[in-house]
Amino acid sequence: MPPVGVVLRGSWAPWALPVVAIFIAVYAADSPPVDDRYWVSATAAGVLLMIFVAPACAVCAAWDGFRSRRLERAVGIPVRSPIRLMLNVCWPVGLLGLAALGLSLWLYLPPGGTPGGPEPRIVGVFILLLAAHTAVGYVVGRLLPVVMAVPLVAIGSYLLGAMPPAMEPVWLRHIVGTGLDTCCWLDEVPDPAALWAPVLFYGAALVAVVGFALLRPAWRIVAVLPLAVSGVVAVRLVAPMDWTPTQPRPMADASCYDAEPELCIWPEQHRVADDVRVWAAEPLERLDAAGLEYPPELDPLSFDVTGLDPDRVRATVAAHLMPSVVCENGVTDVFFDTEDRVAGWLHLTVGVSDAGVESVIPVDALRQSRAVHEHMAPPEQLNWYRSELDVLSACGFADPAQAADQAAVNTPERDE
């Protein structure tokens, strides 16, 4: 292997590094993760910047491809394999990608004390993404004149990262890994399909590059076959997914306390577990006075830990008291209005502050909820609540027959 200094001096990667670093720092300052106290979320936010680092790697690799072609021509009949030459010439680009990845993860580091570490599966996907962009850039640099190769890979690599998130069908964004930008709230984990699809796609691109380097020119078309096959498999994997590449976090991750009520929290919430238990018990008396039963258990709280306060816990209790309704024939506007009124009343009943209620309940609905809460006696409020539940169970339909049908469906679901 030629001296480090020799390889570095000829590479564009050392020049690209400060530019990439500045870009990452500026971008990271403006794009917080979905949940900054959750490693999965912080990792996803950090690695997603690699979509914009990949074009830099591809451009540097295209330049190296051009240089390696000249080196091979100089020797004419090299003994070292094309792959060995590629690795030897491109390692500064690999370091550029890894440095950018490390910087990006560091900038999105969750606060100290957050349990866990960077999500290795997500990091792995994006290392593969960088490797694939680098390898393809290198091959293009070998095949085309440098004045064509560099702009071509810069534009192509950028578009591959930037365009699919804005395009239909949705699987396009998942297959290139950009779907992970909405990952993940505390009660979510990445859908394995959203991780496997880009692995297949970029992995096959790497295999194609290796095949392209090793096969004779007449057989090079064969190198594209794995890309086509795994592209089809990847599309089938992510085809059922919507915009969100997540699935519910396994309850096994949560810890449940035998408290009154039973409270389940995620590991990230452990440091405030005692506070949460106290805050969750506070609404007991209020609910008792209103004639409502406390929910038997509180599922893991999905909101971020940073914003965890008594109001958020009370709002979660209110949310658990909302009925679960199945509306097979759709719903009417009445349903939504009623749902807002009921939610408002529940928030006020469990003691959520004015500011807390106003942030989640529409003004008109809140005015009506507040009128019920402040001007009716507790038994009247309970009757009002039950009549509103009937409306919800009927999915907002006023027609007695339809209402009865929906109510029959929803009776077992009513959570009072």
Binding site: M1, P2, P3, V6, R9, G10, S11, F66, R67, R70, L71, E72, R73, A74, V75, G76, I77, P78, V79, R80, L85, N88, R216
Partner: protein
């Protein structure tokens, strides 16, 4: 030592065959391949060093068959190929480019770096060793290319038109270099220039239209010239007679 081509059939894609059953052996210390432009000299040498793959026929070096990855590597380690067109590699200095080529020929990093110094010394480029290779003149580039070929101590040094573009002074340096090289390796050079051949080479191959018109030692080549030719014109006369004879 013998570099042999046996029943070579070669053609570029969609073009007619350049060679159709060509057989040839290079076994002298210094052989020159003569022929007009388009005769197939570069193609012949390209096939001989495995830079080009024939459709049929075999190439061998002292019984070594360049088949399979391992065979090709062993074969190529023993041959230095200096192509006609030489280019500088951006970002590399002269000695670095020579050393890099040594590494590409299978040498270790330190061995290639050490060997690059003596290779540059042999082509008298030591004083330019630390200059960016892109700043070399055409003649200096060609000498650097020869140094790239010398760096790994090959048994066979095959050069395609090495004197093209060299001024008389540089050609003089090249003659001395060939004299030096043949002490340690066999040299095969293609050219269409006929000066100073008799003192430099032992064997002559004359190629025209993809066929070997003459292959033998210098004396048999010169014998082709008409008897009344003056000594200093015998090479040119023999060459012209061989190339023009069947045209």
């Amino acid at each position: 030592m013998s570099l042999t081509l046996d029943s070579i059939v070669f053609g570029y894609r969609r073009k007619s065959l350049v060679f159709d059953g060509l057989s040839l052996g290079f076994d002298a210390k210094a052989t020159v391949v003569l022929g007009p432009n388009g005769a197939g000299k570069s193609t012949l040498l390209g096939v001989a060093v495995t830079a080009l793959r024939p459709r049929a026929g075999t190439v061998g070096l002292d019984g070594l068959d360049p088949q399979g990855r391992s065979g090709v590597r062993q074969f190529r380690r023993r041959i230095a190929w200096i192509p006609q067109h030489v280019t500088a590699v951006p970002g590399l200095r002269v000695r670095e480019q020579v050393a890099y080529c040594g590494w590409l020929k299978g040498m270790t990093r330190s061995a290639a770096w050490d060997a690059s110094e003596s290779a540059l010394d042999r082509v008298r480029l030591t004083d330019l060793a630390s200059r960016p290779s892109g700043q070399l003149s055409g003649g200096q580039l060609r000498r650097m290319a020869i140094a790239q070929g010398l760096v790994h101590d090959a048994d066979y040094i095959v050069m395609d038109e090495p004197t093209a573009g060299l001024d008389p002074g540089q050609r003089h340096v090249f003659r001395e270099l060939v004299a030096d090289l043949r002490e340690t390796a066999a040299v095969v050079v293609s050219t269409h220039q006929t000066e100073d051949l008799t003192s430099m080479y032992d064997d002559v191959v004359v190629l025209a239209d993809g066929r070997v018109r003459q292959h033998g030692d210098m004396a048999s080549f010169l014998a082709v010239a008409p008897g009344d030719t003056r000594p200093e014109q015998r090479v040119e006369a023999a060459y012209a007679r061989l190339v023009v004879r069947e045209d």
